[in-house]
């Protein structure tokens, strides 16, 4: 009977998402375990922070302040550029997606399945996280939310074998798809013809096609490769920009689905453009 029950569960879960309620209920039993296992490493992390010497902290503080100043000035320029971009797009009668909200989630250092690149973070549906949300870190795209539970959620990395992300080459806008390789430091680009205009060191950014990932975030840099003219498709790999195995803090992104109005309505467009910098804020109310 147990065999029949588990087979039925397997089939229903594979075919549909009706079992989500059961998963949610069971996760209340199991999620405390995840937090318990994470506790030692979290305590170590906290301890190393609080035991840092006074001088080191002051130095770090000063460094961070300098960095913030530099970033701030760059942002000033970005503001102007973004306005210019909106104006230009308005000339083309094109609407523009802009402004994202992010939530910082901390990694739970537990190991669930060794052959899948799936992380567990400490923010779940109680913070409004939902599946297929993009996840970033300071350097680039990390992955997308794969499954949400009340207290935790699972994130599939871009390098997972079952993951593919639509990208474009920043230099010339060539569109392609980057597929996970199953190794943490490699993405495959299997759909490029061997005469494609791509060079080692090219930056791949998200193309925004498919709707999951917002446009323009860095994903990977193209590795060295040797062209093989006798084959129809080039065998090209890329290295992810984000530090997939060294991060503890990740950012879960909400992109605003409402496009910014065209320049013909300048009064309404103004406040939206003034807040393009993502701030670590609570999830939007409509989630």
């Amino acid at each position: 009977m147990a065999v029949i029950a588990s087979c039925a569960l397997l089939v229903t879960e594979h075919r549909s998402s009706q079992l989500n309620a059961l998963r949610m209920a069971l996760s209340y039993l199991v999620d405390p375990l995840k937090y318990a296992v994470d506790l030692p490493s979290a305590v170590m992390h906290r301890a190393s922070e609080s035991l840092g010497s006074y001088a080191a902290l002051i130095k770090e503080n000063a460094d961070l302040r300098d960095e913030q100043l530099v970033r701030q000035t760059q942002l000033l320029k970005l503001d102007a550029l973004e306005k210019e971009n909106v104006r230009l797009r308005a000339l083309l009668e094109n609407s523009f997606k802009l402004g994202e909200q992010v939530l910082i989630a901390e990694l739970l250092s537990i190991n669930t399945a060794p052959y899948e690149h799936i992380l567990v973070v400490n923010k779940g549906t109680n913070f409004g996280v939902h599946p297929h949300q993009p996840v970033l870190d300071a350097n680039g795209v990390v992955g997308q939310v794969f499954r949400t539970l009340p207290l935790t959620s699972e994130i599939m990395l871009i390098t997972d074998l079952n993951h593919a992300i639509p990208v474009q080459i920043n230099r010339n806008g060539l569109l392609t798809i980057a597929v996970g390789s199953g190794q943490l430091n490699q993405l495959n680009l299997p759909f490029l013809p061997s005469n494609a205009d791509i060079r080692p060191g090219d930056l791949l950014i998200t193309s925004g096609l498919g709707g999951t990932f917002p446009q323009g975030y860095p994903v990977a840099t193209v590795d060295e490769f040797t062209s093989q003219p006798n084959k129809p498709f080039a065998n090209i790999t890329a290295t992810p920009k984000s530090l997939l195995d060294r991060n503890r803090e990740l950012m879960i992104v909400w992109s605003h689905s409402a496009p910014v109005p065209l320049i013909s309505k300048p009064n309404t467009a103004e406040p939206v453009i003034n807040t393009p910098t993502p701030t670590p804020a609570l999830p939007p109310a409509n989630e």
Binding site: K34, V37, S41, N111, L161
Partner: protein, 164 residues
Amino acid sequence: MNKTLWFYQVTLTIVVAMCLRILPLSHTLELFNPDWVLLALIYWSLVLPERVGIFYAWAVGLLTDELTGQLFGQHALAYSLAIYACLKLHKRLRQYSLLQQGFFIFCCLLLSQLLFFFIKNLHQSVQLSSDFWLPLLTGTACWPLVYTALRFLRSAEQANIDHR
């Protein structure tokens, strides 16, 4: 044995086994991490066959599925089949030496690992290297450890009760 005590004991060991299962390890050690939950379940099904039955194994399997984020029911299926074999053979297995038991444990672990392998291959594209089978060997190697540790726990508990 006390009516509720066995339940606390078994559940506690299962919880510890689950923690061991998701313990963060370095990448190479991770490949060797055996299926602690199944080892603990096998031990208890040999010692308390009338209490720890197939349904208990099935429920624990369901929780393990949730814990590891796998497709629902795959651990439940594997665990209930393995525990079924244990229950059928528990009288014989108790008489065996640790070495002979080890061979049986190897078969149980192989059965569950094979099921995981089939289910994984059915529903997603995974390139499984030969490392996938390493937990089988370490699991078998860990069986004497699990066996003596749990027996020590049980005898300590028993002595405690007698003492009272």
